[in-house]
């Protein structure tokens, strides 16, 4: 089971770019990296998933170096509504080991 390590919390200001890094030193060959966002009293919401290099969608980018032992979620120009907990998960989409959420990173966006 790939274990992930993230910062416990981060602060930012509106309009800034936020980068949250996740370490996963024992990632396996078939493992993908997935990020979720969770607001209080809600279930987590999928943000982005990737295997290597860079993935971009309408809300975020995911950077994965060649050794895949870490990944960085990039949120461009954050707003107050991006205040949430962000979770990094590592695992095989076809197997049962994708589903270990760590403690997550609490992002606080200030005006």
């Amino acid at each position: 089971l790939a274990k992930t390590t993230q910062p416990i919390s981060m602060d930012s200001y509106e309009g800034q770019e936020v980068n949250i890094t996740c370490s996963h030193n024992n990632i396996a060959t078939n493992d993908y990296i997935t990020w979720y966002q969770q607001f209080p009293s809600q279930g987590p919401r999928f943000i982005i998933q990737g295997y290597k290099t860079k993935v971009t969608n309408e809300v975020a980018s995911l950077f994965i170096p060649a050794d895949r032992k870490s990944s960085t979620l990039s949120l461009p120009r954050v707003s107050l509504s991006d205040t949430a907990v962000y979770y990094c998960l590592v695992g095989d989409p076809l197997g049962g080991n994708m589903l270990t959420f760590g403690g997550g990173t609490r992002l606080m966006v200030k005006p």
């Binding site: 009293s41 809600q42 279930g43 987590p44 295997y51 076809l94 197997g95 049962g96 994708m98 270990t100």
Partner: protein
Amino acid sequence: EAGVAQSPRYKIIEKRQSVAFWCNPISGHATLYWYQQILGQGPKLLIQFQNNGVVDDSQLPKDRFSAERLKGVDSTLKIQPAKLEDSAVYLCASSYLAGGPSQVNEQFFGPGTRLTVL
């Protein structure tokens, strides 16, 4: 598209009582998950179903927790008897596992059931 439905939203019971939670996944989603989320922690997977079958229940406390997914659609999670430490939010999620590893396996979460054991 309707999301994942869960009921009840809140439940308060006394220790040693029994409780059951219900989940209706998104139509067409073959995979269903139950998570336990204790306040201040990330969700912990309890059990994963693929259609009717169990893929992973390694973290399910089988002496008191049980889950079933009849006909590969709805699912129920039961706790009997409940302990104080079972107080948590129970999240249900579903995903459409398209097949090859190049497919994004996005999980869709329901609103959760907040359980308080007194």
